[in-house]
Symmetry: C2
Subunit: 330 residues, 2 copies
């Protein structure tokens, strides 16, 4: 089957390439480690010319053969590839943002092989404090496509990760979002702080230790906040109440519990209601499993997982940009 | 003047030695970098014998000449030297703890040169979550000595540091304390997270940037908690609203602001009163200056700084232990 679109999800540490056919069907997909911070370095011939540019090299590895076979297929990309440290900066678009506003704001660069690459801009929310996303907007739009048009008001879309995002939508638009640095804080504390020194890593997921961390964050003891409760990952070890192998998941539960406890408070305040919204999670399955457990403990009753959000979002944006047309063969 | 006591404040990264005379007067003091995690390694002759033990070597550097001159002067030490990773473990004593209970629980080891070293135990609070201190208990006791006996009830003693401690006292006893990992979190985020990548460090203290961080933590925007507001140190940089050179002090203000905001809430809840206690700060002058600014912004009205807390505390403990007697020459 002929490709209609090549879609790239190009982040800091990875590059995923999708060859999409009619209606956005995934014909083939690849995952490379050539994120923008770990691009290939060895010079190679690309389209008949010696090439040393890491972005060109990674692009060629990801989809050069697909383009050799079908040189005219359009290419779209989202993620950190459009940041100031990326291949070509695609300036942020303000909230509210939707498929139409982002799809008509793609930034185009001409690659060495003569193919245009259309880069999706990130989204910025200017107040109260500035907040930015790059890549997540595409995933959110991919999920919204499958929802009824009035389905967003009682909904919150969560994207767990190094910097997790919680996105409110209305009428198909991204209207507000919050960022939590939970994943990165977990990583730097585990690798570089005193908490990591007594951790024994690499054990299978310890659900009891994770749930215990969540419960501490949600308890009256947790009201003092994560800067203080974090120390319990050490003190419980010192008193023999937390095994070294349980410490990583306890710490993970503690941090995710504080994130979701704060999120629940903020949601109740913003909505002026005790009622919590339904949640759709997008992301890595293992991480979404952790967040699902903790969301449940926080009282978020309806949690579902979204699939293929990125490729669907890139397909919708390419349609909105006029790079492709719906049902071209009909 | 003859020494009555050699007092050592022996932590993770430093070793301070005090030669104390009558009434605890400081006759001489030294500061070495031989904390328990950076002990000397080069073998040397100590008391006529080849010595390779890092604790013995550091001890000899710190006060060997004082002991040569006065072999019978008693020696007391507090801090991480008494931890499981220290020279000799001095098991924690439970709260409530005071000069009498700690002074009669010193752990004694015989050094290579035949001198006894008396190590002060740390203090543990078993519930709600376990909490520990080692070294800070001595400083708190040094401060309490100078207070009227009924002066503790409306008082909170703060010890800013990598792990700051906030200690409640009553009737000369340490009755409750909280730990915040603020200082260590600031250090690991600055050195190892994405926030550090855009920081320009080494500038003089930027009080406006620090105060701005404190205000964000205390504002309605800060209610979402530090896991989220931390990202503003990056996003304000991306939007050109926070210079690279202002980012370290903004981050410092943000974290200290969250610590003190949580502390104020907890104090009001525990005391069941809107009234906040008086504060005595113990520690590094520059860090105490930061905390004083932020405490003021949080509504803690009366803040004073304590001096010579460690050496006074060690003197009191040595008296309680019977290592020395008050006014020996009278």
């Amino acid at each position: 089957m002929l490709a209609q679109l090549i879609a790239l999800d190009w982040g800091t540490t990875s590059l995923r390439a999708y060859k999409l056919g009619q209606d956005g069907q995934v014909l083939e997909q690849r995952s490379l480690s050539s994120g923008i911070m770990q691009l290939p370095k060895a010079p190679r011939v690309v389209a008949g010319r010696e090439c040393t540019n890491g972005f060109e090299l990674a692009f060629d590895e990801a989809c050069g053969d697909w383009l050799d076979a079908q040189p005219d297929v359009p290419v779209i990309a989202c993620g950190m590839v459009g940041s100031a440290q990326g291949w070509h900066e695609a300036a942020y678009r303000d909230t509210p943002a939707n498929v139409a506003s982002l799809g008509t704001s793609l930034h185009t660069l001409r690659s060495t092989r003569g193919v245009d690459v259309h880069i999706v801009p990130g989204v910025i929310q200017r107040s109260p404090l500035p907040n930015v996303m790059r890549g997540e907007e595409t995933q959110v739009l991919g999920v919204l496509q499958n929802l009824p048009s009035d389905g967003g008001d009682d909904l919150l879309i969560g994207l767990p990760g190094s910097h997790s995002k919680w996105v409110q939508v209305a009428d198909g638009c991204i209207v507000h979002f919050d960022t939590f640095m939970t994943g990165e804080i977990f990583a730097v504390l585990s690798e570089h702080s005193i908490l990591g020194r007594t951790q024994q890593r690499g054990a299978p997921f310890d659900d009891a230790a994770f749930d215990r961390g969540v419960q501490v964050a949600l308890s009256a003891d947790g009201e003092i906040g994560p800067l203080s409760t974090l120390f319990s990952a050490r003190s419980l070890g010192l008193t023999g109440e937390l095994r070294a192998s349980a410490q990583p998941d306890y710490l993970s539960g503690l941090l995710i519990g504080h994130e979701l406890s704060a999120l629940a408070s903020v949601q109740r305040r913003r909505r002026n209601s005790v009622h919590l919204p339904s949640i759709i999670l997008i992301g890595n399955t293992q991480l979404c499993t952790r967040y699902s457990r903790a969301l449940d403990a926080c009282g978020f009753a309806r949690v579902t997982l979204a699939e293929q959000a990125t490729e669907r979002g890139l397909w919708q944006l390419a349609l909105a940009a006029g790079l492709i047309t719906a049902n071209p063969s009909r």
